[in-house]
Symmetry: C2
Subunit: 474 residues, 2 copies
Amino acid sequence: MSYLHKIKIVHRSGTALPRTNSLNSIFKPSSVAVVGASANPEKTGHIILKNIIEGGFRGSVYPINPGAHEILGLQAYQSLLDVPGDVDLVVIVVPAKVVPDIMKQAGEKKAGGAIIISGGFRETGNDDLEQEVINIAKSFGIRVIGPNCQGVNYTDSNLCASWPLITAKGRMAVISQSGTVAAAIGEWAEADGIGVSSCVSLGNKADVNELDLINYFSRDPSTGIISLYVEGTGDGRRFMEVCRDAIERKPIVVLRPGKSSKGRKAAESHTKSIAGSYMVFHAACRQVGVTSAKTIEDLYDFSKILMYTKNRRLLKERTDPYRVAVLTSSGGSGIIAVDCAEEIGVEIPDLSKEAVARLREVLPSHCITRNPLDLTGDTPAERYETAVLELSSSAQADAFLLIFGDPIPRASEVVGRLRRDLALRGSDTEIVVCYIGGGTVGQEEVLHMHQQGIPVFSTPERAMRAIGALAGKL
Amino acid sequence: MSYLHKIKIVHRSGTALPRTNSLNSIFKPSSVAVVGASANPEKTGHIILKNIIEGGFRGSVYPINPGAHEILGLQAYQSLLDVPGDVDLVVIVVPAKVVPDIMKQAGEKKAGGAIIISGGFRETGNDDLEQEVINIAKSFGIRVIGPNCQGVNYTDSNLCASWPLITAKGRMAVISQSGTVAAAIGEWAEADGIGVSSCVSLGNKADVNELDLINYFSRDPSTGIISLYVEGTGDGRRFMEVCRDAIERKPIVVLRPGKSSKGRKAAESHTKSIAGSYMVFHAACRQVGVTSAKTIEDLYDFSKILMYTKNRRLLKERTDPYRVAVLTSSGGSGIIAVDCAEEIGVEIPDLSKEAVARLREVLPSHCITRNPLDLTGDTPAERYETAVLELSSSAQADAFLLIFGDPIPRASEVVGRLRRDLALRGSDTEIVVCYIGGGTVGQEEVLHMHQQGIPVFSTPERAMRAIGALAGKL
């Protein structure tokens, strides 16, 4: 039975869910123009054009710069209006005051989407200029990301109209009011072999906001999880409504700072909006089933585990015990994991006498047969398999945390096989991995596990916090 | 005035500080024999020999294996006794029951040190065998690391008698009851361009324990900070005494799990010793000036910041305010840092009216002149310099946290210059950096900053926690 059976969806009259079809011009454009493209490698207008090209975007790409004939090997045009044929998406990197004219030209070229990188709008007091641009865009039916943002990356289209260049395809959609947070998570996901479906920097949210994007990505076949960083969310009721709907299809993790009074004031400065109460926001998230992250690492880790697992207990009774069996080659890491579990409220159940007896039969005598189960530093990967299959048959846990605390070869192969075996036995026990201290062997094994959809974390504490999120304890 | 002026060193009669000279055979041997060296690449006896060779150890290396003539290009010997001349350090990777004989041979070869990797001693109930080995070693004056450990790496000697292979030279000495924790920190330090002076895996601590090593490294010119992971410390009074003495010369950071009841039990299983009270231990650390880490990431981060800075306030009044000015290109990261500061008890002071007025004169108008100071995403590195010099002249902070939340070139060059300028002005304000979301530019800049001794952290939360440790708040 789905964990969602208790959710009651309420669509109040007059509050239709946001339209999303038109966002396809932003994420899946047939052609892109970069207005303000530059030959100077330090300019944003250069970096974005370069990333669109090097990212492998397959549609037409038009650099627009009145003073250039060619940029990065592409023919440049003096103005948008000089481009032959229509332009689907317009990326704007020119000074704010010029943007209204550019938006009119975009309308003439029948653009469906615009990404305004340029700053100098509401965030600096130029509210009227921002409104003018949006009015023009609306009159032409153009959806706008930004202004004052770090752009959009959508890997399924090979479209990196942003920076840094991230090309690893994955199922995590990152929506962020901070371009830096989006970039950081995208970089981690790339280095980890996980990849992203999208990174969107919201900027001033003059048109498209997090609600439009949550809605869009909840229906996007390339996306498996929505990771959100926001500082203020305007209408809280509307936020909950959209999340209630979207979370039927995809898990949502949110990082929303502003707990401290100084943090809240800084958030209000940054976004020029009322940040509202941190506590009320997070209580609302909990009620709807949105997972709250406390740090940027949490946001990434929680997204990873929820993307790769199916049995999260977001809406069940939070007091339900969640039992984890820890298997480790590193005694120390096992102790650290157990300490962290108690702090979070995840249970580390004692093993039954029968389970211990059976483990003693199948494991070498120097293994310490308790929970955490210390397989010791000489363990081959196969010893984890033996122990998990034994424990699994006596239903000792809701999740197995396997800590590989040494350069153990074949770990990914064995864990992949183990997961298939558990599935064949009808077990829905989760497998979560921490791989730490494994040198180059470890780095490769982590990539292989991620390719198989097994979530891996770099320390026992991060692994256990992620399990806490999965269990609905955080 | 040194922060240490309040420490009163008490040397009680009969408790001489541990002797350390003889540890030179372990860390600075003239020759090394690997007993149990193997040609099989999956065997520990192969990996350790390979790491000693590839690490560039310049003394003689003797593989010992009765069945081999040559291993990894080196002449192999049937027994230790066949090696021509003396052997300074003996690394032992053979089954436990053979170890007493090997130790006798080591004695005959006038070895000064032995590292026993092999398990099968006290941790599996074979207390007598362990005692026998140690008695033999003592009778010959051989100091022993282990047994049941992951070996020793001492980079100044190019000696990696351990795994994984870590060669980056640095000033962090890692002493760990968990080989995995030592390996993980060594790997992070290498990837970060920081390096280590040493990584020592304690194992069963049958002879050399953390106290001997704290004492040794506190006098080791290659070491600038001591990072310790322990699960139990035997005589707590003695631990405090040694730390009191050592901390006069070097800062010490300790991670000691066992806060939870399950964690304590697991620790006692792992180390076969009484873990003792977590709270008492950490209170004692605080009293002596040892910095407590809560996670493995803390242990690394706190060691990094204490290694690179001079003005830590470990023994001052913990209630003294510690004021941080945050300068950021990423508004979101600034908010996150401020939230974290309040949680830790670090102050983010409001800027004086005069300071704000002067900043407004020297910064572009779209910068948000408060604390956190948002220099915005278009900032060049030089804008940080301008702002810090301005704030520094009005003594607004004890530390500057510079968050580079974009791929900002020349950041390392500018921060290095800035630090020199502050020193010339007689300012002892610390500079701490967070570099996040900066792509390949960021990765290079981080390495350059570390080369200059500027501590860099990968998220605002980790940077602020490290500052909390520096300020004595954690």
